[in-house]
């Protein structure tokens, strides 16, 4: 089972809260918006990923198990 995150770039407005929770998983582009489209969450980082999803004021990140 893999945990996967997906970022909606129309919703992201650059709060960068996800990056604060896990800078390695939630990378930012040059101006501070999410640079992630879809990414598999490394083993051990699942809880941080869920926290990042819950921290996004724009609810721009979804998480799924595949």
């Amino acid at each position: 089972m893999t945990v996967r995150i997906r970022v909606d770039h129309d919703a992201c407005t650059g709060h960068a809260r996800c990056h604060t929770v896990d800078p390695d998983l939630f990378t930012l582009d040059d101006v501070g918006y999410s640079a992630v489209d879809v990414a598999d969450v490394p083993t051990g980082a699942e809880e941080r990923a869920r926290l990042a999803v819950a921290s996004c004021p724009e609810q721009a990140i979804t998480i799924e198990e595949v």
């Binding site: 407005t13 650059g14 709060h15 960068a16 809260r17 990056h19 604060t20 930012l28 040059d30 101006v31 501070g32 918006y33 926290l51 819950a54 921290s55 996004c56 004021p57 724009e58």
Partner: protein, 414 residues
């Protein structure tokens, strides 16, 4: 209570003469009064009118509705919001624009205030803060608003502009006049207009100098920016610098006033922070949520109904971020201050395309202030009997003065 509530023709509660920035109960009680208003009337209409602002006025107080208003920039327009009660030639760019025009200018500002760029400023910001705290530490008391909260972000901003800090008090007084003069004290806007003009003239003089002699500062960077394939004209540059000037100085200062008041009045939170400075990140976020200082104003571009409110083109909507961020439907134990609250999905910096462009700088300044202050001055209180006075602004709420006192540092202990 001075505000009586009935209902209008469509069944929506009507509060007579309510304008948050002129409401005595909000000024006296502060945030719990916002909570009371939200619990009583999550949505209401006010019949407050001024000659410059004759249209119906609606308040939305719940997180869900505040968020919806901020996201829907097509229906809820930002044009002209900074001067709702008199004609002004000055506008904040791009705050007072709607997408897609807003996007063109926002794109220029994002890289100048990106997390990476702001992160590089941390040593400088820390040095400025340390200098101020070092000067205060031996005094044993101060008004933290005047002596620290207003000084710190203003000094950082002047550093970003590359100007000497000799004029610091003048700049602070312009911000005060522009942002904290009430309609009642300035019905025709003359006082506010004078301050806005002084700010524009000050920034224009810097721009003229950087045109001749470019440097590595924010004004020089903006002069190199292009919009629609051409450099910014004077009006555009003036509008952007006007925004940076006002939004960057007033807001962080105000947050610092609430932050130190809270920590003086809640020694348990303060001791936890002193014992574990890594809490400063979550503490800043919780301060931003619990003491959200900004209220946002929009007007409707067309007719629409929301939560039973029959709104029409030109009607005004006010969404106080404080009521959204203290809404129990959005946050567990919303009326408790939880220094390590996680997650904390607050919208103290707004939401949607107008999300505060300076938020990364603001967060850095607030975090550095917590760390540097408590490193030198871990214990303090507010002298007995002093009740900090709230100034509820149209856009920014702040404390007028917050006297703190502390004992001499114990060199054996630290």
């Amino acid at each position: 209570m001075t505000v009586s509530s009935t209902t209008n023709q469509s069944g929506v509660p009507l509060r007579h003469g309510f304008l948050h920035s002129e409401n005595a109960d909000l000024r006296r009680v502060g945030y719990p009064e916002w909570d009371r208003l939200r619990n009583e009337t999550p949505v209401f209409e006010s019949d407050y009118r001024t000659p410059g602002s004759p249209n119906p006025l609606w308040y939305f107080l719940e997180y869900e509705d505040v968020y919806a208003v901020l996201r829907d920039t097509g229906l809820f327009s930002s044009v002209g919001f900074t001067h709702p009660d008199y004609e002004s030639e000055f506008m904040m760019i791009p705050s007072e624009m709607d997408p897609p025009e807003h996007t063109k200018y926002r794109t220029l500002l994002n890289p100048l205030l990106s997390p990476t760029r702001i992160g590089q400023m941390e040593p400088t910001v820390r040095e400025v803060c340390r200098g101020l705290v070092d000067d205060l530490a031996d005094r044993g008391s101060c008004d933290v608003v005047t002596d620290f909260a207003l000084q710190f972000p203003t000094k950082v901003f002047m550093g970003m502009l590359g100007v000497p800090t000799d004029d610091l008090d003048t700049l602070i007084s312009w911000v005060h006049q522009s942002q904290h003069t009430s309609h009642a004290d300035d019905p025709d806007g003359r006082i506010r207009d004078g301050a806005d003009r002084a700010i524009h003239d000050f920034m224009a003089a810097i721009a003229d100098d950087r045109r001749r002699t470019p440097r590595d500062d924010i004004v020089s960077n903006l002069l190199g920016c292009q919009v629609d394939g051409r450099p910014l004209d004077d009006r555009e540059l003036g509008g952007i610098l006007y925004l940076l000037f006002l939004a960057g100085l007033d807001t962080v200062a105000s947050m610092l006033g609430f932050t130190f008041t809270h920590l003086a009045n809640h020694p348990d939170d303060r001791r936890r922070l002193v014992a574990d400075p890594t809490l400063s990140t979550s503490a800043v976020e919780e301060m931003l949520r619990y003491y959200s200082i900004v209220s946002i104003s929009r007007h409707l571009t067309g007719d629409a109904e929301m939560k039973g409110c029959p709104m029409h083109q030109g009607d005004r909507v006010i969404v106080p971020l404080a009521t959204a961020n203290r809404d129990p439907a959005a946050f567990p134990e919303a009326d408790s201050f939880t220094i390590d609250r996680t997650p904390n999905r607050h919208i103290a910096f707004g939401a949607g395309p107008h999300r505060c462009v300076g938020s990364h700088l603001a967060r850095l300044e607030l975090k550095v202030a917590l760390e540097e202050w408590h490193r030198r001055i871990p214990d303090y209180d507010i002298p007995d009997g002093h009740q900090p006075q709230l100034r509820v602004g149209m856009f920014v709420t702040s404390l007028i003065a917050v006297p703190l006192r502390w004992g001499p540092a114990d060199p054996g202990e630290r």
